[in-house]
């Protein structure tokens, strides 16, 4: 999962109102809607060459853009890539059509462990094919943290949730992702509660925890961390793994002396999946299945992971994945850490609304 870019959010409403894209249905066509910079550059070309299908490939920047289109209907796309927690609701809204697994000969390549987690979003694994996955964790500016706290607990949520710890970093800037459901889950999990509980007492406990450290947070946002970590504007952030790696690379490229690192806290955190689904009004269903099958090929999956540094769901691709990626515990966590990961489950409408409201108030400090 990647963050929505603030720039594009303004275009969301516009995008929804012009949802009927020019994509046309035809025998040999395929219309894909994926995240920007989220595929190896030759994947589409190779697929087209192999199958003779003419693929139109469009990109988006946020789950919200995609969902606005999907709920409006008639997107004109044959394959879209929501994050599984979003897709869960979209499935319930009747947006997707079930997959025809008989057309997916590579289906067996999928990691059963991941499919099991994914089934919590997509019961029976009827609609979703996992593409890439990641975690939510903590990124930090190595020098600034060490300077303020040489023995900082850099493997734990204590960095965020212990007021006496986070207070030390308030001056160099702390940013939290603006994702209410995940923040509740993380806090409830840290407190030893069921992360997905919508019980009022559990939610109150989570809010109290956040309130205790609210004064030390500079801002809540889902995309600004990338830039601000890289430039040194902030020194500590909760963020999505993909974004945090981007900040790390940006800082290295800028050569401004800023060094960033990312870890998955040992207490456990959310794991998320970006998954393929076929909208119920897709016209090129065969072609869509062909493309899904193609992405599950170990070689293709490895190529995509090598290009964008995200973990995939095809274990047989591991031998072909670059060492620096597969040995990076932040991309491919150890079994011990993996055991503590849990999915981000948005819950029913009332729970979601209650969480969103409480979170909005927390942010405003009221």
């Amino acid at each position: 999962m990647k963050t929505y870019s603030a720039i594009k959010t303004t275009l969301i409403c516009l995008a929804i109102s012009v949802s009927a894209n020019g994509a046309m249905a035809s025998e040999n066509k395929l219309n894909i809607y994926n995240w920007s910079d989220y595929i190896a550059p030759d994947t589409i070309a190779n697929f087209d060459a192999l199958t003779g299908i003419e693929t139109t490939y469009d990109v988006f920047d946020s789950n919200e853009v995609l969902e606005g289109k999907l709920l409006g209907g008639q997107t004109g796309y044959d394959l879209v890539v929501p994050t599984a927690s979003f897709m869960e609701m979209q499935i319930q809204a009747g947006v997707f059509m079930p997959l025809d697994k008989s057309k997916l000969k590579n289906y067996a390549n999928l990691d059963p462990e991941i499919m099991q987690l994914l089934a919590k979003h997509d019961p029976g694994n009827k609609y979703a094919i996992p593409y890439l996955w990641g975690t939510t964790g903590i990124a930090y500016n190595i020098d600034k943290i060490k300077q303020r706290m040489p023995d900082a607990p850099l493997d734990s949520w204590d960095m965020i949730f212990k007021p006496e710890v986070i207070a030390k970093f308030a001056d160099c800037g702390v940013a939290i992702i603006d994702a209410p459901s995940e923040n509740f889950e993380i806090a409830q999990n840290y407190l030893g509660l069921d992360p997905h509980s919508g019980a009022e007492a559990d939610m109150d406990a989570a809010i109290d925890l956040w309130k205790s450290i609210r004064p030390y947070v500079r801002y809540f946002h889902s995309s600004q961390q990338v830039d601000d970590l890289a430039t040194g504007e902030i020194c500590l952030a909760i963020g999505w793994s993909g974004d945090m790696f981007q900040a790390l690379n940006d800082a290295a490229d800028a050569g401004n002396g800023v060094k960033i690192d990312y870890y998955i806290p040992k207490e456990g955190s959310t794991i998320w999946f970006d998954v393929f689904g076929i909208p119920n009004d897709a016209k090129n269903i065969d072609a869509a299945h062909k493309f899904l099958d193609y992405t599950m090929d170990a070689k293709i999956a490895a190529a995509n992971s090598n290009e964008i540094w995200y973990a995939n769901a095809i274990p047989s691709s591991m031998p072909m994945i670059l060492d620096e990626i597969k040995n990076n515990v932040s991309v491919y966590p150890t079994e011990k850490i993996k055991a503590n990961l849990f999915i981000d489950k948005p819950g029913d409408a009332a729970t979601a609304r209650a969480r969103n409201k409480a979170w909005a108030r927390l942010k405003a400090g009221s």
Partner: protein, 304 residues
Amino acid sequence: MKKPLSNKINWFKGVLLGVPSLWLAVFLFLPLMLILKMSFAEAILAQPPFTALLNWGEGLLPELNISFFSYALLIEDNYYIGALLQSLTLATIATSCTLLIALPMVLAMIKMPNKWQNIFLILVILPFWTSFLIRVYSWKILLRNDGFINQILLYFGLINDPLPMLYSQFAVLIGIVYSYLPFMILPLFAGLKKLDYALVEAAEDLGAKPLTIFFRVILPLIYPSIIAGIILVFIPATGEFVIPDLLGGSDSLLIGKLIWIEFFNNRDWPTASAIALILLILFALPLLILNKFTRKSQKWQDLV
């Protein structure tokens, strides 16, 4: 048979009036009706994510399906009203700042020779040629801890540590004032340009001091322009979403963000529509009243 000329003229008139009417109907009235309709629906998990207004059941006539859930939600507690008040407060402060900056600028511009006036007008309009988002983004770079403003202050020893300016109400204010300043300057300039400068000189000649001239002569004559400027700044500033999102901290909950939360986080299009509609009514009502009032006073003036 030849058509009489008056018929042709009527036909032409019809086209002249019809085109803008059609435009308003298609691009203003219809979407507004859709929003109105949506606001009386209920959010469901479906495609589209809200209930239908008319239910074609067994009977001959459709069943009307109106829900006040969204509106009830809005007054349930102070969550929405609080955000609205915060937005209105911010917009009021921002509009006042814009006016206070624009007025002296325009008064100075109006005294310049025409050549310089044109150059300044172009400078005022020039930022429109770059994307609004890039301009707001560049404020991020200016306001950052290692940004230009902090570096200057540090260089001159005015501060010892960088002032955290980004992600604050202050930054939002700067962003809004900066972005909307041209919308205040342009109507003010147009109003002052129309103002006969001899009136200012006459007041001066009669012994009035600059402040008196401003309040008793200039202000009463250009107030329609000031109101136009205030409307052009205040309304978008109230619903502003992008600037607080890019420059603001988390210490304020604004109505624009609430609409966003309803639409995307809660998947509640009806409530988002209800908020938008109420905002619209809140803005439109005073304008209509004002319009009626000014027309009345105009008529009264003509009679006396």
